[in-house]
Symmetry: C2
Subunit: 211 residues, 2 copies
């Protein structure tokens, strides 16, 4: 079961930003450091390769009882029995994903406005990824930064967990949590650091201090 | 319901090989010419865009009672309630796709050897796409041409419909049918022709004459 605790430190994977380290090792180290949920993002790979990577990552996340979320691909999420699916603005419509997934998956949605957030909640999203909170180079499609005030507005407008994403690091993680966010999503702030476990642990300590 | 008749003239779409003509118009013309099944192939588009294109194409195929097969993507096939899913060697494992799809989709599989064909049949494939029969430039991943003898061997080795694919045109369609194939799959032989409807009609006449 996914609880509020699972949103505290949400890792999004990125093959390139991991600096060549194998994804299963990177995920293993991040979980050892305190990551509470893992979202697997793969672009530019075949469905078969995505499936095999997802199976490998699922082995790691299951071993540590950390929920695995698959980005974009309902087929992969169902195929590997992931716990969740994350839907962005250019993925399947949320309502369609919900209809197809039934109760087999919890579903997150990317929102950057109060209106998008409310609509996603109404359409059955179980949580929201909201951002980009700060300017970021980690996601090409992240859009303009929305800032802390907008994030706080969105957190107040819905009653599902909101994870802040985009440009979050050890220097600003605490102020993100203070907006009412359930947690922070991090890519390069963990995966691009020389010591992944240490970077995750550092962020987790900061997050925990805000609770 | 999908019957043997539906495999006679199997169109695989290709955005580039359609020479810029909108896919729904191309499919409409191909069906008017006698295409009996349509496989929608999209690469390099987002899931959301694939979904919208598939919905549009499904409107056309439904109107004409022609089965629609989605290439590779189980999520899209389920999302638009397509009749079928086609699985290639770099897609989801066939057994996984069958487990997830249940009886909601008929599933085709790409095979180029007797062994692959027999295994696919055992794993629940409803038909096979076998090739490349002839050398082709239409599919980058088509592999070496297998020729008519191999195609005939595969047709004899399984009891599910076999569609020949790869380099098939008006000049060789009849000899492909004579191997025992249930039909021919065509991409550029229809979509790259100036008159799509006429190209499809011409091929359909040739196929029908072999029955």
């Amino acid at each position: 079961m996914v609880t509020a605790q699972n949103f505290l430190l949400y890792l999004c994977t990125d093959r390139i930003l991991s600096l060549g380290r194998p994804i299963t090792e990177a995920v293993e180290a991040a979980i050892a450091g305190g990551v509470t949920m893992v979202q697997l993002r793969e672009k530019e790979v075949s469905t078969g390769e995505f499936y095999r990577i997802a199976l490998d990552v699922r082995t790691v996340t299951r071993h540590h009882h950390v929920p695995l979320v698959i980005n974009d691909r309902l087929d992969i999420a169902l195929a590997v029995s992931a716990e969740g699916l994350h839907i962005g603005q250019s993925d399947l419509p949320l309502s369609v994903a919900r209809r197809l997934a039934g109760n087999r998956l919890f579903i997150g949605f990317s929102a950057s406005t109060v209106e998008e957030a409310r609509r996603a909640q109404a359409e059955g999203a179980n949580y929201l990824g909201v951002g980009a909170v700060y300017p970021t180079g980690s996601k090409a499609d992240a859009g303009e930064a929305i800032g802390l005030n907008r994030l706080a507005e969105i957190c107040a407008a819905v009653n599902i967990p909101v994870v802040g994403i985009g440009g979050i690091n050890a220097a600003n993680a605490a102020e993100v949590m203070k907006t009412g966010a359930a947690g922070i999503a991090v890519i390069s702030g963990i995966l691009s650091k020389p010591d992944i476990q240490d970077a995750a642990r550092n962020l987790r300590v900061i997050v925990n201090e805000t609770l």
